[in-house]
């Protein structure tokens, strides 16, 4: 199976760097259902961070509606979920993010993903289909697998809000 090229082939991912990028993107709200990939490295510190307001929801598609409502107030939100929740929310993403052209920013943990592999090459069916689905829906996506990838976050969020369009970050390794 093809591996991940270049810097993503091995390395570490610092959760603090991701959270700093989230804040510098103007994100005020984090909307989340817990995801085991990002549980320790992102969700726990975010829950303790006074500069971010964490809204814990019961089901991932709620995040799409809440983020949409916040966008009408010019408030930025990041949705922090697992790829299973992303798959469960596809109709809401289709209707609100894509057809209504809303700036829905999603950070999606790839459950049980081997970070040494490209997501499309994953032996896990649920992981393998995420990028092709995003491509078919016309949603730009960025793999966050090593620290160097963190620089993609702020420009992509700024672009999503500037163009009123969705974006997805796929977290391929548990941040530490």
């Amino acid at each position: 199976m093809p591996g991940v090229s270049g810097a993503a082939a091995s390395g570490a991912l610092n959760g603090g760097g991701i959270i700093a990028a989230i804040k510098s993107s103007g994100i005020e709200y984090v909307l989340s259902v817990p995801d085991i990939v990002t549980s320790s490295g992102l969700l726990r510190p975010i829950a303790q961070d006074p500069e971010l307001r964490l809204i814990r929801v019961c089901k991932e598609d709620e995040c799409i509606g809440i983020a949409s409502g916040l966008s009408y107030c010019d408030k930025r939100a990041l949705i922090l979920i697992q790829h299973t929740g992303f798959l469960d929310s596809l109709n809401a993403i289709r209707g609100i993010a894509v057809e209504y052209k809303q700036p829905i920013c999603m950070m999606v943990g790839l459950l049980q993903h081997d970070p040494e592999l490209a997501p499309r090459a994953s032996p896990r069916y649920g992981v393998r289909i995420v990028e092709p689905i995003l491509d078919d829906m016309g949603i730009p996506h960025h793999l966050i697998g090593v620290d160097a990838d963190v620089a993609k976050i702020q420009p992509a969020i700024d672009k999503a809000y500037a163009e009123s369009a969705p974006v997805a970050f796929l977290v391929g390794r548990s941040p530490t």
């Binding site: 089901k59 509606g65 949409s68 010019d74 408030k75 609100i96």
Partner: protein, 188 residues
């Protein structure tokens, strides 16, 4: 038993600068009774009206948000009761019209038409919960209800309505969404 449109006519007499979030049959009735720029109609992801309302309420805590949700919609997003109760926005009023049917999808019954939505909202932890079956009582209490600290929940027990015409392009209209956004962001 009440009628949805008569409830909305009563409600409309009390609405001033609130955002009103409505979907499907509730949206059709509401925009006919109260066409206004601060109507936020949401079509295409049934059930998320309560979540849209929560986002609007969080983003403008100085304004009030009224959600008009159908019973079928709430069943698709029942967890939002718990989320809203936990966030506890004081400016959110959540009204659910309970007619026991998926009216926009052919009038088929919801799985359990006797479901107690007010009981569910109370158990979830809403600040105040009401259950209305009589239009005179609703007329008498709606003004007080709208002024209370939220989140406030009320079930409006209504009859299935006459056949409606669903003008989805109008309910979806991007120009109306832009106008809503401008009006909702305007500061007094």
């Amino acid at each position: 038993m009440m009628k949805r449109d008569e409830c909305f006519r009563v409600l409309a007499r009390h609405i001033t600068d609130e955002a009103v979030v409505a979907t499907y049959s509730s949206a059709v009735d509401w925009v006919e009774i109260a066409p206004r720029v601060l109507n936020y109609t949401s079509i295409g992801a049934m059930g998320l009206d309560s979540s849209h309302g929560l986002g609007l309420a969080l983003g403008r805590p100085d304004k009030r948000v009224v959600v008009l949700q159908g019973d079928g919609s709430l069943l698709m997003n029942l967890g939002s009761l718990v989320t809203i109760a936990a966030v506890a926005p004081k400016n959110l009023i959540h009204l659910v019209t309970h007619n026991g049917t998926y009216e926009a999808n052919g009038g088929h019954p919801i799985p359990y038409p006797k479901v107690d939505f007010a009981g569910a909202a109370r158990a979830a932890g809403y600040a105040a919960v009401y259950d209305f079956s009589n239009i005179d009582v609703f007329t008498q209490q709606v003004g007080y209800l709208l002024g209370q600290d939220g989140p406030v929940f009320a079930t409006l027990h209504v009859e299935p309505s006459k056949a409606l015409t669903y003008d989805y392009p109008s309910l979806y209209d991007p120009a109306k969404r832009r106008a809503f956004k401008a009006a909702w962001q305007a500061r007094d």
